[in-house]
């Protein structure tokens, strides 16, 4: 039996274009003489469609597409994902389903059982859990179909305690093949896990498992692809491309040949960010980006990622030096641009800065300089970036990293300006590691950018370390408190940091909530990013007084 795994990159909400892609994949599968063509979860609307599914006309549109797809499914079994009305019992009235079409006939649906409702997942908002276990017989094979999370419970890799295990229920039906439609977001160090989950399921069911993953980025979420075929022993036999569309033709009767998974975490992180930028731009019809090029490490990294995503000809670096900008910064910015091949233009902010200081002097009298003056500089730069964006059509990419977002070491409406926070889920420690990785063969980012102490250059001789603890400490606390919800006492003990220091950092994280609420969406690459999937009140008193 031959199966074509159509690892496609849908555009959210574009049912028409996504259907077109499905038809092309069916044609490819037919040409490859496949028996089955398998698509990712929610193929027709893309994952996640969010509140679009509340529009009846949107749901209707998918139903109509299904008819078109059926017509084109001659001599093939097509398994395609969609959202559809649930007329049975259930709170929300919709199902996240796979439609099974056999030789032009819609033979049934398999509804997703386990609806993840944590972190970035909120499927209980929209869908009701499936009720029916079944197999579909085709060419004398009993074919089981499950959707994404349905097989994760079985390996324990879920942040939920589901009452049922669809894999064990499927086991009773003794399928010959299991198909899985997925949309599983990229996460640093996660792809390995996914193969494990597939292997465990295949071993339990004692049948091969073919897993089709969505690829592409949708707002904050990046889907890495890497669709999987494991045989009944759980051995990985085929792996689709990472971070690109792919049609993987699986022949279940082919000789055994293990396919090792060579996973390079740093390379994948970089590819994920590049894909995140590319899809944000291309799927929304834009192609040009600009960014504030400070000569610092964050903007250097974002420039590399954006130049790779859009082509250097579509990137404009804007250098906006002030009285505090050192020559090294200016030179580094230019060297980077030369190395990557994008243009830089310079708009000094000295004059409007002086102007503003004078304008505000009568109002502020003799109050000493503080972050006000620093923020004015950052915001003057924001205005320039946005003016370029408005006038010339470049989208501003924002350069803040996760460590800064965590502590609020960033200026709202200043350096936080932009359509997309490219490295907003990348800690400063990871920023350094990524830059060294980029330079692994030759100097692309000037080494001086990487090696000198980080500075926002918003006052004379400023260094990040003047007001922030060391970044490795900050990043440990972010991981422990934000990503793992560890208690402060435990973090203090684990890393041998005084408890009050940990508490101060955690308080600072909460205090910056109001800034992050107005941040651009960030590309999610960790298991808990700021933004989507993290919901804290702005006004709250937890940790403000309590020794917790």
């Amino acid at each position: 039996m031959k199966i074509t795994v159509a690892q496609i990159n849908p555009v959210i909400g574009d049912v028409e274009a996504n259907t077109q892609k499905v038809l092309e994949s069916i044609k490819l599968a037919q040409e490859a003489q496949s028996d089955i063509v398998l698509f990712p979860e929610l193929t027709l609307c893309g994952y996640p469609p969010q509140d679009l599914v509340y529009h009846h006309t949107f749901i209707d549109k998918m139903e109509q597409s299904l008819q078109t797809i059926a017509v084109h499914s001659k001599n093939i079994m097509t398994v395609v994902g969609l959202a559809r009305p649930n007329l049975g019992p259930g709170e929300r009235g919709l199902s996240n389903s796979a439609a099974i079409i056999v030789d032009q006939k819609l033979v049934g649906f398999q509804d997703k059982w386990l609806l993840p409702n944590y972190d970035i997942f909120n499927e209980r908002f929209y869908f009701d859990p499936g009720q029916k276990t079944q197999t579909f017989t085709y060419k004398d094979k009993k074919i089981g179909v499950l959707i994404c999370e349905d097989i994760w419970q079985h390996s324990g890799y879920v942040s939920s305690r589901y009452a049922r295990d669809p894999v064990l229920e499927m086991e009773k039906l003794n399928p010959d093949i299991l198909l899985n439609l997925s949309a599983s977001p990229y996460q640093y160090d996660k792809p390995d896990q996914r193969v494990e989950v597939c292997a465990k399921t295949a071993r339990t069911l004692n049948c091969p498992l073919v897993y089709c993953a969505q690829v592409g980025a949708n707002d904050s979420l990046i889907f890495d692809g890497y669709s999987v075929y494991v045989d009944q022993t759980g051995e990985l036999r085929q792996l689709a491309k990472g971070f690109a569309e792919d049609h993987m033709h699986v022949d279940l009767s082919a000789e055994s040949c293990a396919c090792p998974f060579h996973y390079d975490p740093m390379s994948d992180l970089y590819k994920a960010l590049v894909l995140g930028v590319r899809d944000y731009f291309f799927k929304s019809g834009f192609k040009k980006a600009c960014l504030g090029l400070s000569g610092g490490i964050d903007s250097a990294l974002v420039a590399c990622i954006t130049a790779e995503a859009l082509g250097p000809e579509n990137l404009l670096g804007i250098s906006m030096p002030s009285r505090y900008t050192c020559d090294l910064s200016k030179n580094d910015a230019q060297t980077l641009a030369d190395n990557l091949g994008f243009n830089v233009t310079t708009v000094p902010i000295e004059e409007p800065f002086t102007e503003y200081l004078g304008l505000l002097k009568p109002h502020f009298q003799d109050l000493p300089p503080d972050t006000t003056e620093e923020n004015i500089q950052a915001r003057l730069r924001g205005i320039i970036l946005m003016a370029f964006s408005n006038k010339l059509g470049h989208i501003v990419v924002s350069t803040g990293n996760k460590s800064e977002f965590a502590l609020g070491y960033c200026t709202l409406y200043g350096d936080m300006c932009g359509g997309l926070g490219v490295i907003g889920d990348v800690t400063k420690t990871q920023v350094f590691a990524l830059c060294r990785w980029i330079n692994r063969n030759k100097e692309i980012i000037p080494w001086s950018t990487i090696e000198r102490p980080p500075s926002a250059e918003l006052r004379a001789n400023q260094k990040d370390s003047d007001t922030l603890p060391p970044y490795d400490l900050i990043d440990m606390v972010i991981r422990s408190y934000v990503e793992d919800y560890l208690p402060i006492k435990v973090i203090a003990k684990k890393f041998n940091i005084p408890e009050p220091e940990v508490r101060d950092l955690c308080r600072r994280i909460h205090r910056a909530e109001y800034k992050r609420r107005q941040a651009p969406p960030v590309l999610r690459v960790s298991k808990k990013s700021f933004g989507i999937g993290r919901r804290y009140p702005i006004v709250q008193n937890w940790l403000k007084k309590d020794p917790c």
Copy 2:
């Protein structure tokens, strides 16, 4: 039997302070010789605690508080809300519960059955549905306890199709009294509904119902109070204060005396917004606000609300005229400030604007003026507002209305600056109505502000109507498309507007998603506000091509 309804205003996450309030209310109830003291939903952490409940130490803290509360509950039955571990089956491992303490002993818990998971509610993220129906016997009365949504299903006022109706299950146990702990957000024209829901439940159970509501604002959500006592015939007997803490002592044996609900929608809308501002500031420890005072109607309304919330002495109006600001605007701004008694200071933006035009000229060459120059003015004003905020500690209140947010008729990082979008869920039509209501007895807002055609004054002789359809049309489409999810065809027919015009407006609403994602939180007063409770992808193609 006497019941004290402790309608309190908790601070989210401040378990210690909330517990203190509980102890004070118990004392008041004891002094009033009440048999029962009833608190709102999730009393100890405030509603909604969001991801704070993922911290074990946070949950532990509530458990500890319960012991303190028990110690203080001598000779009284205390019914208090909290989040607690669910050790039974369930996906999330927590319950939204009422603890029942009788004469210093914790006698049991009642877990919430129906967990709303739509709009601003996401209780399935955190909690498992309750399983047990029970009554608690106290002084020979069988007392049933249900939590908020549990009684709503029975009247059909829910956006969900729950499988169970707790009221009908409770009916089998034949309770003598039903208590309900609630946290039900204010919504324009909703308080009536709440009384109806209580009345219907009381009639079904043929017993009196005492309903304790949370009061106070938490970020975007405003809780209006108005706790309810209805007798077994469903007649409204007592109503607690709206928009303020209250202790309502209910005597179930008192003679019948109906209490009519005089509901004034406009007055309540105003009070809601005032409470929203007050709690945002006071609960986060701030007391001073500033705003850009343009002389237009939106900033006038926000000034009224903020002056009322914080006292005029804590409000600073900043007038930032440009070459396009007419004298009438300047005069109106000053008149309003004089009427309300707050200070205004003037910072003209002409010089930095000229400076910026010069700075950018070489880069933009001879491209014609467009929104770029308009946005620069708005952003220069944003910088000034934020500089006052940084230097003097005022929080900027943002003045954009819902109609502008809907269509993106506002400048990101410009007039969208601020900590709180005070009228971001108030349509322009409602803005006019509210201003006329404010002026019902005397002129507070200059009539010329209300009566002249709205203008952003960002270019010569600009009027909103140059680029926007009439506001009544915009607001009809917002209500129909955003709040009711009506199909475009239906909207066109309903209001007799050409279909392409409706479609253009809806597209424009989607296109502005990226701006709204970076907007300050808005005070929610409608059934569907932008921000919390509305989740649309930024990058998506629905409606971009399709004739839906």
